[in-house]
């Protein structure tokens, strides 16, 4: 997808924030969104990396449902609820973020076509950077960048204060232990399953490249990727005093409020069969399932709604080998449960 030939790409401000504490790394873009929406600043690309590891919740997620809060505390991790979509992420200093803040109309096409359009449009930039690094990377819609089918970059977006925010990052290295351990787990084996699934489905620059890029190489590569795709021209800039002030006065206090991170409890759930679902990457999920009328617990992996692995970890019929082969009546019943869950 490319813009009509001959059009001069619009000028965007480039903000290099460098290595920042987690709140600034994750949320300064919200302050920028206000000035962009009000016309005080042009559309802006922020390039930043976190100085420390932290946990980011998707806008709609409930911390108590998603996180093992004891483990998060034990690791001394800050939890930040971002204003964009998607699931829980573990961020660490190996990652480089790009955050795009822009007004409606910045993306060619019909206004209101939805986030998938914007993601497909702008992710050409980081994709080009990955290509420049020598990686055969692709976009897996709506928002993953993958190398040989394994996710190396997660992305999400949202509307905030009258502007659009698209955030994403490149994984520098992979800490599947931390990624899995911060998530709430209904059974110890579920966490093991998460680790193995993440190791299978995710990758990182240090795994793919003999010499991972250091220092400012990645921010420069990302900026070049956006420009070479002619998505915009970058003009180096600094945060406005108003953006710094708003960040300190409004954004930071809101994010530090307990009620922002820990939402009010949801109403009691009706009894459910799928009691825990974690999206590993793409359409692949790790699931914990309770069968109706049975005390046991089943763990499963689904891909696009179909079961690819099932094991029985609790209950009278749980065997020592645990894995349930195709054709077993329990697996057939689970296939129906998971298909209904995926189609909901």
């Amino acid at each position: 997808m490319s813009d009509p030939p001959g059009e001069v790409p619009p000028a965007w401000r480039r903000l290099d924030l460098g290595a920042c504490e987690p709140y600034r790394a994750q949320t300064f873009a919200e302050s920028v969104a206000v000035s962009v929406a009000q016309g005080e600043a042009p559309d802006t690309l922020l390039l930043v990396r976190p100085r420390e590891s932290y946990v980011s919740l998707g806008f709609h997620q409930v911390a108590e449902e998603e996180l093992d809060l004891e483990e998060v505390a034990r690791r001394g991790l800050t939890v930040i609820r971002r204003v964009t979509g998607g699931g829980t992420t573990f961020l660490d200093p190996s990652q480089t973020f790009y955050q795009l803040v822009y007004r409606e109309g910045a993306v060619p096409g019909v206004p209101g076509e939805g986030g998938a359009r914007d993601l497909a449009h702008f992710l050409r930039g980081p994709l080009r950077c990955l290509h420049e690094l020598g990686l055969r990377a692709d976009l897996r819609p709506p928002s993953d960048l993958v190398v040989a089918g394994r996710k190396i970059s997660g992305n999400a977006g949202g509307d905030w204060e009258g502007a659009h925010i698209l955030v994403g990052g490149l994984l520098g290295s992979l800490d599947v232990e931390a990624m899995a351990d911060i998530l709430r787990s209904p059974h110890p084996r579920f966490r093991e399953l998460l680790r193995s699934e993440m190791a299978r489905e995710l990758t990182s620059l240090d795994h793919e490249l003999p010499a991972p890029p250091a220092g400012e190489v990645l921010p420069r590569c990302l900026a070049r990727g956006f420009e070479e795709e002619e998505l915009f021209r970058l003009v180096p800039g600094e945060p406005l005093p108003a953006e710094e002030a708003r960040f300190q006065r409004e954004v930071l206090p809101r994010h530090r409020e307990r009620s922002w991170v820990h939402l009010p409890p949801l109403p009691p759930r009706a009894p459910r069969e799928v009691i825990r679902a974690v999206k590993v990457a793409g359409d692949r999920f790790a699931l914990a399932v309770r069968m109706p009328g049975e005390d046991g617990l089943y763990l499963a992996v689904s891909q696009s709604g179909a079961l690819v692995h099932v094991e029985h970890v609790e209950g009278e019929r749980a065997g020592s080998s645990q894995a349930i082969p195709p054709g077993d009546p329990r697996r057939t019943e689970l296939e129906g449960i998971v298909a209904r869950w995926a189609g909901a």
Partner: protein, 152 residues
């Protein structure tokens, strides 16, 4: 989606804390649905409240909705205040209140399972119900008899 579907005006992001699980369903489905701005529909109920949901064309445009948060029942909002957030394709969008009003109910079942918005956005996927309190609404201003401050 959400604010992306606005036909004008601006809105801030919805505060995800705007949720309180106390709600009941719409009492009357007899009134005719009418379009309002920002990709929503509104239907006047027999108690002079309005039930609000997502227009079918909006839902088709934004794709499969995977999460929803609504306003706080009992709270007053101004026209244009973002009161609903939805998520689809990893994108969060917000919808503003069509006119000043007090929210009287939220479809709390959508918090755990937003799939009715996808299946039946004009029926069981309704989002919230409110009573207008002013005449600042953009297009769908009700007649004066419907704008009295409710006692709810």
């Amino acid at each position: 989606m959400g604010e992306r579907d606005r036909e004008g005006g601006s809105a801030s992001g919805t505060d995800p804390r705007q949720t309180l699980p106390e709600a009941s369903g719409p009492r009357s489905m007899e009134m005719q649905a009418c379009p309002v701005p920002q990709g929503l529909w509104a239907r006047r109920e027999s108690d002079h409240s309005f039930t609000v949901g997502l227009r079918e064309e909006t839902r088709q445009k934004v794709g499969r909705i995977t999460a929803f948060r609504g306003p706080v029942p009992g709270s007053s909002y101004r026209s244009g205040d973002p009161v609903v957030s939805i998520e689809s394709d990893k994108w969060v969008g917000h919808f503003p209140l069509p006119m000043d009003g007090i929210v009287v109910a939220v479809n709390e079942s959508l918090y755990q399972d937003p799939s009715p918005i996808n299946r039946d956005p004009q029926g069981s996927g309704w989002l919230f119900r409110y009573r207008p309190t002013g005449i600042h609404g953009p297009e769908a201003d009700p007649p004066p008899s419907r704008t009295q401050t409710p006692s709810a």
